[in-house]
Amino acid sequence: MPDMESAAAAPVRIAGVDERVLAEREERVSSHRRDVLFDVENLRVSYAGVPALKDVSLEIYKNFITAFIGPSGCGKSTFIRCFNRMNDLIPTAAVEGTIRYHGADLYGPEVDPVEVRKRIGMVFQKPNPFPKSIYDNVAFGPRVLGWKKNLDERVERALRQAALWDEVKKRLKASAYSLSGGQQQRLCIARCLAVEPDVLLMDEPASALDPISTTAIEDLMHELKRDYTIVIVTHNMQQAARVADMTAFFSVDVDEEHDRRTGILVEYDTTPTIFTQPSDKRCEDYVTGRFG
C-alpha cells in the first residue's frame, strides 16, 4: 500500500510502558498450549459412606493456575486434598474414580502416598509453621527426604522463590513464630518449594491474611506459575478472577429425600469466560452474588 505505508505509523509512545514486557506477554499468551497434568475422571469421595463429592471430571493443565470456587460445603477442599492423597489421613474417607498424574493413576495399588506428597505440595489456610527456627522449617522437607548436602543453598533458594529471603536472611535462626502472618504463609510456601515439587496445592492460602499480604501472595503465584502448576481453593471469587487461568465452579446438589448434600462440578472454563459469560445459570448466580 504505497501511500498508507509512506504515512508510516510513528513508534508507539506510552508513558512508563516497557515495550519489551508487552511483547513478551503477547508471545506467552499466544503460544500457551494446554498440557494436561492431571486427568480426573468420575471422582467420588465419601466420608463413612456418605458421599461428599461426586461425578467430578476435569483436566488440570501444566503451568496454569486453576481455581476451585463455590459455596461452603460444596466439596472443593475435599477435592483438592485428593490430589496429594491427604484424604488418606482421614480413616473414614473413601475415594473412587481415577486421578491420573502424568498418565499414572494416583490411587493405583503400587502408589505410595508419601511419594505422591513429595511431588505435590500443599499450603494450608492458616499458616502452620513448625515450632522451630525459620531455617529448620524450610530444611525439614529436604531433611526427611535425605537431602543432607547443600542444605544452606536449598534453604536460600526456596526462600528466594517465596520472596522472603531479603526479609529473613539476617535471622534464619529466629523462631518461625516471630514472623507476621503474611510472612509465615510465605515461609510455608518456601517450605513446600524446598522439596522441589511439580505442583503446589493451596487451600485458601490468603483467607487468614490482610489485603497487602494477600496481594503479595497473589503476585507470588504469578511468579511461581512459570515453574510450577498451581491449584487453589478460594471462597473469595475476586481472588480467583485476579489470579486463575482456569476456574472450576462447584455447587451443592441437595437430595431432599435422603437429606443429603453432595458437592458437584457445575462449570469449568477459562476464567474470563466464567466471569463474563458463564454457561450455567447456577454459576452465573454465584459469581454475580445472587446465590442463596
Binding site: N84, M86, L89, P91, V114, E115, R117, K118, G121, M122, F124, K126, N128, P129, F130, P131, F140, G141, V144, L145, C188, R191, C192, V195
Partner: protein
Amino acid sequence: MSVPADTLARSSQGDRIRGTAFYALLLVSITIGFLLLGVLLVDVVRKGIGYVDPTLLGEPNSSDPNEAGAGPAIRGTIYMMLLLLVMVVPLGVGTALYLEEYANRDRWYNRLLEINIQNLAAVPSIVYGILGLAFIVRGIGLGRVLLAGAVILTLLVLPTVIVASREAIRAVPDSIRQGAYALGATQWQVVWRQVLPAAIPGIATGSILALARAIGETAPLLLVGALTFVSVNPTLLGSFTALPVQIYQWIGRPQEDFRLLAAAGIIVLLAILLTMNAFAIWLRNRYQRRW
C-alpha cells in the same frame, strides 16, 4: 433521648449480698487450707531443724539418735528416682504415643486399654505393694531388692505419666502434623521429628510431677521389702531402704530424740519435693507453647 441515671443503677440488693457472701466463703476456704498447711510446716520445722546436719545426711542408722543418720535412705530414694526415670518415661511416653498417634479408636482392644489406664490411676498404692510382693519379689524371684522397689513405683506412677504425656501430645495442633505429612514425611518421621519434640516440655513436667508423688510412697515399699535398719549403701540387687521408710521407722522408736530426727527427715523430704515441683513449674513456664 437521654437515659435516666437510675436505670443504670444495680437493680437488686439481694444479688449484691449474695456476691459478697460467696467471695467471703472463698476467702475462708483458702485461709483454712493455708492455715492447716502452715501449722504443720511450722511444727515440723520447729521440731526437726536442730537435727538437720551432715550426720543426718551421711551416716547410716544407729540406735543412738545422736549418731543416727539417713544416709543410705537418702541414697536409696535417689537411686530409686533414677531407676524410675529410666523405666517409667519410655514406657509412659511410648504408650501415650501409641494411643494418640497410632491406635485406631474404633478397635475394642484400644478402648479397653484406655479404660484400664484410667482405672489404674485410682488404685491404692498398697495394692501395688501386694502385687509387687506376689509377682516380682516372690513370683519371679527377684527378692527384696532396690530394683523390685523401683519396678513397683514405676507401675504406680505409670498411669500418671501416660495421662500427662497424652495431654502434651494432644496439645500439639493437628495443623503441624498435616504440614509435615504434606511435605512427604512418613508417620514415623512426623511423630519423631515434630510431635514428640513439641510435646517434650509437657511430658517433662508431667514426669517430674509423677516422680514427686512417687518419692513419698511408703506402703508399697514396705511390702516389697524396704528394710528399716540398713547400714550399708543400697545397690541395685541388694537390700535397700528409702527416706519415707526411714522416717516411719524413727517415729516408731520410743525415744523422743528419734521423733525429732524423724521431723528432720521430713524436712529433707519436703525440701527434695519442693525442689522437684518448683523445677517442674519452672520448666512448664519456660517452655510452654502458646499455640
